[in-house]
Amino acid sequence: MAESRTFTLNINGKAHTVNAAPRKSLADVLREDCGLTGTHVGCEHGVCGACTVLVDGKPVRSCLMFGVQAEGAEIRTVEGLAAADGSLHPLQQAFWEHHGLQCGFCTPGFLMLAVGALEENPDMSDDDIRDLLSSNLCRCTGYQNIVKSVRVAAAQMRGQARS
């Protein structure tokens, strides 16, 4: 069996050429071969969502994709969320202002989940937001301030979309 192969990933607009075994998950390739450790691994069976990244604009579990499968796709991770000048994305800002994180381990996954969904549809109702956020697990916050942060950011992103 071929132990590893060389492939190129487009991550946050930058090409990363890696040599990795086909069995290596996208999450592990991002973390270990691309040095992007902001994507966290919490369960490796697709339930917790800590590893959520955007693949071609859609939030997906990077523990349930092999790195080699992401060749040719546009990948976005938490490291690519802030603007080039370092200013926070509205979601990051809202999480900070409204205490949407405690230990911060699940946070990158929640941010990428919400970014992908809000970019598809910023007009989510409160119920839609809660339903969306039920995709990922957080153990610290009781979700109160995650819901609040996403609501605030959604309103802001709606404003930006219209202006």
Binding site: E32, V47, L137
Partner: protein, 771 residues
Amino acid sequence: MTWIGRRLRRFEDPALLLGRGSFVADRSSTAAAVKFVRSPVAAGTILGIDIPDGASVFTARDLAGTKPIRPILERPDYRAVGQPLLAVDRVVHTGQAVAVVVGRDQADAEDLAEQVYVDIDPSAAVVDVDAALAEGARQVHAEAPGNVLVEGRMKTPGLDQAFAEAAAVVAITLRSGRQSAAPMEPRGGLAEFDPASGRVTLTASVQMPHMLRTGIADVLGMRETDLRVVAPDVGGGFGQKMSLFPEYAVLVWLARHLRRDVAWIEDRRENFLAASHSRDQVFGVKGAFAADGRLLGIDADLRSNVGAFSCYPVTCGVEPLMAFAELPGPYDFAEYGVRSRGVTTNTCMMAPYRGVSRPMLTLTMERLMDVAARRLGIDPWDIRRRNLIKHFPHKSPTGLVYDPATYLEAMEAAEQRIGLGEFRARQKRLRDEGRYIGLGVSVFSERSGYGTPAFAARKMQIVPGYENVDCTMDPSGYVDVRIGASPHGQGLKTALAQLVADELGISPEHVRVISGDTDATPYGWGTFASRSMVIAGGATKLAATKLADKIRLVAATLLEVEPEAIELADGLARVRQTNRSLAIADAARAAYHQSYKFPAVGAGLRDTALYDPGGTFSNACHVAEVEVDIGTGGVSISRFLVVEDAGVLINPMIVDGQIAGGVAQGIANALYEEVVYDDAGNLLTASFADYLPPTAAEIPEIDIVHMETISPATVTGAKGVGEGGAIGAPAAVLNAISDALSPFGIEALEMPATPDRIRDLLRKAGISPHG
């Protein structure tokens, strides 16, 4: 303007939001990967271990000379049992580490681990707490006849008479399923060997770095100075990361033995199998009530399944002895009899988890109140009104002294806010439509911030409790605060900076809190038991006060006034009622570089303080409104109210976050989460598909209201608040379910109250899915 009391956004957050957090796995990709080979059975004798040729595999034989982890309670009823670093001759729970494999990377290590064959002659497992106590039950440990590892007993002289005189005796038995703290980041450690010094740095996802260093040095027989323990960003702990686990000692041993860096990053399945569990308690209680609802006495038989080992350092006494001492809760009654046992079984070790016994003892007292109220025809709020502690300081039947709190006031505030009259009308209307809603109340105390006296009373050989804090202002006027507490998500660094800023008159942004590094912080006890704000916060305030005195002395000398004339504010040392001032940074510079001018201060600006308080009780009232679906047995929570009294709030935003997170875990205990073993001791819930932490869809909006009784028992006036949410919520939810189902005479007494269990109660009451 003070910083205390402000909803200051956290200094911890930007790095975490940008993906620049630094968790142990983030630092481990270049180290060799470690995988533990774990017992596939709950009990048995190891006949042999086959190791693949050439593989880097180690077993207990290789670890000869190391000592088992064996914490001690100095009580005659305690049976010490040792936990070997790797299983020696026998296994006592599924998932116990038997061998350790070192591979190039994680996948490689797993490939190798699969090839290690452990030949075990299995024996029957003892899994259930009552089965373990049964006559003739197989003994889990030779040291513990009857499988009891610890037993607390007491009886007040008037107990029998209280029961003899009671108008009603209410007896109930409550059960809590076993929970896992399930932090989003499982355990993990990186042990780095420094060939130059021979030292090992263990970076690990832990809550108690100093204790870990002592514990590992003890079991490996090495000098503490040869080991540095670092807690980097930690992805939640909730108690699960405070104990010394064999895996960490093995990692340090491997790094020294192999003279290389090794990392163990626990996966989720392993976390369920082998990190600690909690709860799994059966509490039988009888309450003696007077006709007017006054509680005269309690007689309790409390059984806690403590698993296969005793956790280090707090021991397996933590749950049974907490239950023993604190069952009376917020109620004022005199007569108390209790027998509380910690029972060993062939299951994963139990260790502290947010709440420690109090979710269960609160459930017990609060369900008892409701059942008694129904029996006596008294309103559930009234029966509590009659029994809550109203006079302070209050001494409980077990000798605990309660500082001032607002048990009654918080409950009455909750009663007002929830709109009881409107609820009862709606409940009646909906019942007529075949819908069942219920309201449940739970009143409780949260003993928090206790120092060495409380732990010493438990007869622990290792007595935690105090904190030392080192507060240093550098020549540029910035402050480093070094603490022995070890926050992991609580936002303590922000809250302590707020405290220091007020003492020193500087911005909290000029305060850096350093924690989680045994090379850089004073020996301390880490973060657990709702202690950090009270104890580390208290020590920080005391140290900062002493530092402020020094700054005033320096400034007074430079400004040629008396120190009493100096006030520190806005970064300035000001002469009161004048416009004369000096930048605090200039005073700092002078303290270091012109120290000869300030003989009373000495050189530089540094001070330390020790704080070891007796403890304080915060309190709260939780109210849950639920709807029970008769057709599915499903319970949904539509409203949740918390009226909390945690004393002075340093950062109310952080306090609210602690409460909400705790409530979510309490709801999980009440409705969703349960670690399940089969009769043979196989774990049936080793994934998040089977062990069910609730999501955003299951947790309702939580309405939080604060009362602020300033604690005279703490230097900041603050009380601990880390666990209360988890303590009070289960009782509120089960009381609400029982209220909803009261037309059928159903009392919910078991957690989690799963749809299956609710339907079972309904079926037994003759209620079909169609109502």
